[in-house]
Symmetry: C2
């Protein structure tokens, strides 16, 4: 039977007392008896609500500095007995049902974050609260368990609309919330106690699952959940337009946001298969978008794009979505930004296959990263450091600015290892000119990045054919080649030189650094060591 | 004060009764009073141990079909009161201390896995047990809380060696275990209740943390943990020799094991930057190793290697670790296998920078995969399906065997997208001849895989120079090019043809399939559609 239950007797014992009077008043007005413990009782009585002291029900005093307040045969029986099967037994034992528990627990987490001493921390482990809450939750068929002040307004409404009764659905929902609360609570305690003993343990909880159409591939099922209590989550993204996001969209969206989150001027990242194939930072957003796109104008089709500033209509008109010649239309999968101008939305919404997402890129910043592999967890602090030191190790000094160098490091950090990024400054715009990534051999990545760069320069040159190679040479000389890890051999330097590169940035640290530096000196290349590797697998 | 506590009064109430007599006897022999509930009491009395019925302590009967057995002001006070501050108050209230709780909880998980009805599931939510356990744990300064039968033998020893007392360290350890138990218990309940309501929630817990030297890079801290209660875990790997595994070693080790786990004959995978650059399956392990190595003999240096069968000495002698000419020595980072012949270990152990790991590859098989991104979780079923259908869509039929085709699909599934694998059969060995992966553009991957294949064939040919191209042509014609996703344009087919490929396998499903197939027909290529994409990001 899934019927409503009239709340005739309610037990209040709350640590967080906010808003508790309103709920008690609604119950009282519907003829409910309120039982309460010390502090809560004072608050309710001050609000003019008659309260029965809990010791009148238990027959026991509040004892041991508050460690014993509610736990008793009387209270837990009143919560737990089966109103049908056990009715006679309850009557014989003088147990009168309690139909509602309003309880929230000692603030263990807050107290812990205050850095209190161990004894105080232990004192803030609630025993009576979870007992009541769990007992009431187990017997939710007859009992309502209220653990979150945010639920009070809805409950007040439901009570007033139903003569002081609550529905089965409400009680079921409250029960789920209660067990999730006690699970979270003991997770915190267990983790804190392990920590005190010098043992790291990790407990993660996720809910609000959205079912995705499928996973990485159509034969895989997939779900997208939010981490409980996380202040920020990618799950909070605001979906403005289009078909629902796919699993791969979400993965790439994260990478896109991650790529622009640390850039301060207007920036745009273009992601394909989880790597940025375009990245640019500068002043004019349209220009930034065009230069990001030019990083790999073929792969950019079907990409996932993120901006770090409000997107203007003039920016996205670069997609030419209305072009009569369909070949001129640039199809992309997702555009994400902290905001969109209404005219930009209007323009983009005309295209149903384009997904628009509002999300602040900075909110993907994380202190820790988690990788779950076959029943194990790799936990690491995130790679949030960009530059440790900067040392020119060659005879030649580089002429490139620090801002370009930093941009190059940021670009290469986003690429899967082995990673090479070629970046340049063009009229105060910082641009990823070409990238190579995900290769078992660094030489592959170097070749891919340089070939891409050369191809892009070729396409960009609009002058006379005879001048093209000269233009490419000039641009390559102003560019910087950045490597995510050290060069194991001088071969990468030779390849870079063959494409006209004059500045190379890498962490250094190889046993063959000397021969790598010598090769640079021989070929007139400036090399900067950063001391900081940026592997990403 | 971190002193020992003599256990003078213990409360037993266990659901799992295994081994409980031994602990009770050790206590009894040291003069401890045993209090117990119904079922546990019978077991102990049968074993000749005198037991006080709990109702004599509480003054209450066992009530409501067992829902109320232990919860009472008397029991929880006896567990919770501060033996120093609250001693007088306890005496006045007639509360005598209980120094130990032995309790394990109703088997909620087991009952749930039996698929019982909802009411039975609810009945198996333990209320009294967690109350006692949590109260005893909170007061661990004076009370020992025993929740795991596996701890009984050590406790018996400690009690016998210390006149029935337990140390602070033991009580602290038991307390941590207790809160981890109640956290797990409520996590299960919360998840099950959410599931009943049609809401997916996920709770993951990890412990046994090992501190790694650093994370993906030296400026990142990292830890390696085991999932609690997982039947298998990569964390269980048996480390036989060498420097400790690094973060990146573990990530690559997983990929190496994953690449060989589904191969039935002897197999070897060589991983570099998380992608297999070598993979082979066949009969003779040495031959398998050599052919895997030949997939990318340059990148294989510094790789992570997995075998799916016991490793023989003759196999690893291929590394020539004792070669006088140091250039002939093949340095690799990690070798993992389900087992090693003692002679193989003896040979490998001479090299201190080589790490040896014993682990059964099949144990990395997972039903579900988790990806945690910025406060969110992507959960998907793993890509464990290899072939849905097999349809030749071209005029030409392929002449390659199914086993090669399946091997190619398995290879490409392990590679980061976009992925292309070129595989061939050589004297009944299945070999990854070349791969391209991690590229924003499929054409890049196709070129990388074919160029690698051609290079490998060139190196392998030992005949007269004039015959080399002919040999390469013959081998390419027998090889299969496998793509993890459909070809968006016919350009990949043209590139494949230019390298002499005659068989292409891909899922199909592009809007331009027709023009791709036409291009195959025009170029004399057989194309097989599988209907199954294998993206991996």
């Amino acid at each position: 039977m899934k019927h409503s239950i009239k709340i005739k007797r309610a037990l209040f014992s709350v640590s967080d007392k906010s808003g508790v009077e309103a709920l008690a008043r609604a119950l009282h007005q519907n003829g409910c008896q309120i039982i309460s413990t010390g502090g809560t009782k004072s608050v309710l009585e001050k609000a003019g609500i008659p309260v029965t002291e809990i010791s009148e029900v238990t027959g026991n005093p509040e004892a041991f500095g508050g460690r014993m307040k509610t736990i008793s045969f009387q209270i837990e029986s009143a919560l737990l007995f089966d109103r049908e099967k056990d009715a006679d037994e309850a009557r014989q034992l003088g147990i009168e049902p309690i139909d509602m528990v309003v309880c929230n627990l000692y603030p263990f987490e807050r107290v812990k974050n205050q850095g209190v001493d161990f004894d105080t921390l232990i004192e803030n482990i609630d025993i009576g609260g979870p007992t009541m809450v769990r007992a009431a939750a187990k017997n939710f068929k007859y009992v309502a368990v209220v653990t979150d002040p945010q639920d009070y307004p809805d409950l007040v409404t439901e009570l007033q609309d139903n003569d002081g009764a609550l529905s089965y659905e409400t009680r079921f929902r409250l029960m789920r919330k209660a067990f999730n609360l006690t699970a979270d609570y003991d997770a915190m305690i267990a983790t804190a106690m392990d920590e005190t003993a010098g043992h790291l343990s990790v407990r993660l909880a996720f809910d609000r699952a959205k079912t995705l159409r499928y996973g990485e591939n159509a034969h895989q099922q997939a779900f997208f959940l939010r981490q409980r209590h996380a202040p920020y989550s990618l799950h909070d993204l605001e979906f403005l337009h289009g078909k629902e996001l796919s699993y791969n969209n979400i993965v790439d969206l994260y990478s896109a946001l991650d790529a622009v989150k640390d850039l301060s001027k207007t920036a745009c990242a273009i992601i394909k298969h989880n790597n940025p194939c375009g990245l640019c930072e500068g002043n004019d957003q349209r220009q930034v978008f065009e230069l990001a796109w030019a990083g790999d104008p073929v792969s950019a089709f079907g990409s996932i794009i993120a901006f770090n500033k409000k997107v203007e209509r003039s920016t996205v008109e670069f997609l030419h979505l209305d072009a009569e010649n369909k070949m001129q239309r640039k199809f992309v999968e997702v555009i994400a930004a902290p905001d969109f101008a209404p005219e930009a939305i209007e323009y983009l919404k005309k295209h149903k296959n384009l997904r628009l997402v509002r999300f602040e890129p900075k909110r993907v910043t994380q202190e820790k990263e988690f990788k779950i592999l076959a029943g194990s967890l790799l936990l690491q602090t995130s790679d949030n450091t960009l530059l440790k030191e900067k040392e020119t190790v060659t005879q030649h000094e580089t002429e490139v600015d620090d801002d370009l160098l930093n941009f190059g490091l940021l670009a290469v950090r986003q690429l899967k290892s082995n990673a090479i990024a070629v970046v340049r400054k063009k009229d105060n715009y910082l641009q990823l000119l070409g990238m190579g990534c995900g290769q078992p051999n660094r030489v592959n990545s170097t070749r891919l990045a340089l070939e891409r760069s050369r191809e892009n320069l070729k396409n960009e040159f609009t002058g006379e054919d005879a001048q093209r190679e000269r233009y490419i040479k000039e641009q390559m000389e102003k560019a910087v080649l950045v490597s995510d890890a050290f060069f194991p051999f001088p071969d990468n330097v030779e390849i870079a030189a063959s494409y006209g590169i004059k500045t190379i940035v890498q962490p250094g640290g190889s046993i063959r650094d000397k021969s790598v530096i010598e090769k640079c000196n021989e070929l007139g290349i400036a090399m900067v060591f950063t001391g900081l590797r940026h592997f990403k697998h």
